[in-house]
Symmetry: C2
């Protein structure tokens, strides 16, 4: 069985960059936007549309059976089909037996039986706002207030999407093997040092 690292993260905390860097350091495959791209290719749908469908807050209406029992949802809405696609793609990745890092998509829950190393990445709000500003397109004209609102709104959506799969709150530590505050870190250095912790964990596990 391949080693799987899953990363759940607050928006703006650098979880995606950390995941990419961990994959680089460890020589693992990396999945993030790739999952959306695969779905959009398979379903012949626009990438942005797929992402929007999966990330919006209509998640709440999905039946609770999804993800827990892996039962197919008898529904023909596009979103529900997309959710099933996410699940199928994640299971395909796991079954490929390759070592990989998967960012987001509640992969830690969907792939729980594959014993992934589950990381939660978070940071102080100021640090998250600063990271968003650094990455902002020059044309974008968002205030710190706008960005803070965006961060909270996206995190709320992530929390909601989580609630469909589990009764446990998104930030409840018991679901994760480690939770790391990126506020003071250089992410390259963090990935290097964290990769040793992960290698050790897979050895004792």
């Amino acid at each position: 069985m391949g080693k799987i690292i899953t990363i759940s993260r607050e928006f703006g905390s650098g979880g995606r960059e950390l995941g990419k860097r961990l994959a680089d350091v460890l020589g693992y495959d990396y999945y993030d936007k790739e999952i959306i791209e695969e779905i959009s290719k398979n379903k012949n749908l626009d990438k942005d549309y797929v992402e929007k469908c999966l990330d919006n807050q209509f998640w709440k209406s999905v039946p609770l059976s999804f993800g827990r029992t892996f039962t197919m949802i008898k529904s023909n809405t596009i979103r529900d089909n997309l959710l099933i696609s996410v699940q199928e793609i994640l299971l395909d990745i796991a079954r490929s037996d390759k070592d990989c890092v998967i960012v987001g998509r509640n992969a830690d829950i969907i792939l729980n039986e594959y014993n992934p190393f589950k990381i939660f990445v978070y940071a102080d709000i100021e640090s998250k706002i600063n990271r968003c500003i650094e990455r902002m397109d020059e044309k974008e004209n968002k205030t710190r207030k706008n960005i803070e609102h965006q961060i909270k709104s996206i995190d709320k959506s992530r929390m909601n999407s989580r609630e469909i799969l589990t009764d446990i709150n998104w930030k409840d530590l018991s679901q994760y093997h480690i939770a790391i505050n990126t506020t003071d870190w250089d992410l390259k250095q963090l990935a290097n040092t964290l990769s040793n912790v992960i290698n050790n964990w897979f050895m004792v596990k």
Copy 2:
């Protein structure tokens, strides 16, 4: 300024052992029971009595100013005096400029201005019960149910003592630099690998 590592931990999670091992690996001083011993010596009080006074749930009656403003509490109860002693001893430790690991006593909040590396240690309930059984005196005749009740009761008391110092819940991640689930770990190996993370953090900080 000395480097300070603080450890907050769920009862039975191995936080104390991890702290001791981290201190050994890093060559730091270690404070845990030593704080209680110092107080009992200074105040000429029995160690067990001091510990019981500090750990019981009467914490709730202590005024909110304690710990936040470092203002002395105008009170003559033994418990309040003991709380002030804890604060004084922690500040003495920090002012000594020596590198150290401090377990419990809300040292992360009381010594916040000394920029400690703040660790939260937790584990699955089964793992915590097993650890308690391993350490149980042969004469003790506790069932798993008894032990689970004890774990929950002590953690509740720790949570209450925290609420006096901060509005933030004990398990709220935002207060910590890292939270680590010890369930699958050999603590010696964890201390070794975590010491590198901590050394790196003090370097970038």
